[in-house]
Amino acid sequence: MTRAAMINAALFAMLPITAGVALALDEPFIITLATKVAILALAAVGLNIALGLGGLVSLGHAAFFGIGGYAMGILAHHAQSYTPLMELPFLIEGTKSMPVIWLVAIIASALAALAIGALSLRTTGVYFIMITLAFGQMLYYFAISWPAYGGEDGLSIYVRNGFPGLNTLVPIQFFGLCFAVLAVVLWASGRLARSAFGLALTAARQNPERVEAVGLTPYRLRLVAFTISGAVTGLAGALFADLNRFVSPTMFSWQMSGEIMIFIILGGVGRLFGPVAGAALFILLEHLLSGVTEFWLIYVGALLLLVVLFARGGLIGSLAGREVAHD
């Protein structure tokens, strides 16, 4: 086992251990925090597929996070108010079942990512950063001014949605569910990085001309990566909405996009477990510092600066050294 792999394993184990200890100490809020880490890490794992593997610096991933959130909000809202979502051309009812909600969230955010990606990927570099930001803002303003689902007020769901065989209202069970989803997605994203598609995508990041010369189309590779990335972040959005039992346009805000990106940088770009480490560190800082001072964001800013300037490779990079995995 390489040092990086050991750190990854330790980081990964830390979440369930924290939750377990919190359960033993009867500190349900710590479990809630661990759940939050798992969900935000999932969002960042999604972005990392575009950013780390594809080199696509998207400053608009909050769009998919928000779409996932609203998929949950809208379906559950109709279910709890016993109103159909749509009557014509055929009847669609709301639902409180997580698997169905997840499926809708994944499909909706994947479709959005496909559309946004198809347009945005015509540009590169700074233009790509900015156009994704613009699409995010577009959805943000749309969500605010769209009256049907609460606008700026957002939507409250009174009871957390259900999952067959679990009582999701119990914090530790909901944590277990989110953690399992994270584990599955991490596994899949690790496999993705080593797959045929992953090889072509990472090669396209390093040298698009090369990829074209072997007969592959970088645009298509990136579009698929962006779509998968958006779908994963969308799933995280649905879980986040369920954690809070609430959705609002702030899920679409550009600060949200920035935060998801921060998790990746804090943890280490392109590293499989980077998002987990980054999200855990950020939530820990938020939790500890916000109790010490009202101006805690100054310290977060300063820390982030230090990481970017001096600890390239993020948390995992600093711990694991300059070791590179040859796989």
Partner: protein, 250 residues
Amino acid sequence: MIEPLLETRDLCKNFGALQATDHVNISLVPGEIHALIGPNGAGKSTLVKLIMGSEQPSSGSVHFAGADITDLRRPERARAGLGRTFQISSLAMEHTVLQNAVLGALGRSGRVMRFLWPVMSDKALVAQAEQALERVGLADHRGALTGELSHGQRRLLEVAVALTLEPKAFLMDEPMAGLGAEGSARMTEFLDRLRQEAPILLIEHDMDAVFQLADRISVLVYGRVIATGTAAEIRANAAVREAYLGEEDA
């Protein structure tokens, strides 16, 4: 007469007032090495870009394997069977040598939309890639990071990746550059054998190699082909001597 595999017909490209490519007609027939030479600024790079699809011609057309490929994009030309190496090494530097070669094999197979199965466990692809590395003599470096290779080794890897594509024709942009005397000799020997598999359109500055290898040579000056012929014919051509070799010797 043998049907040409690759052919440009009255190919023109102008950038504003500058005529970078001027009614160029060159062809590549099976089994040959056709070398394209010319002084710096003669328009060789532009011609390569037009053939590979990085630039669109102002007029004229490019034909390959019996089809008009003028409107095809770069990846489509590669899939049609046009394998190339780059003037400046163009590889995925963070990947290993073997991964770069597998990328080529993957491009050839077209089975890129596989998301969960580790590509390096695909025996067929890896075998194909290893065979190509073997042929250029890079088999011992298969696990090395491409960024850590020497300049000459990268040129070899470029050729190996092109081999994995099993192309119908090669377009090689200065494969000898930076190889040194020994490397050049080995590359020359290798290309000499390779022409039996697929013809090569060779852009090269190394005149010894060109005159040793080429079945035909075309000389490009100010965007125009001023002469095409065998090595002996080109050596004897007065216009060429004046416009090109004279300069080169000076």
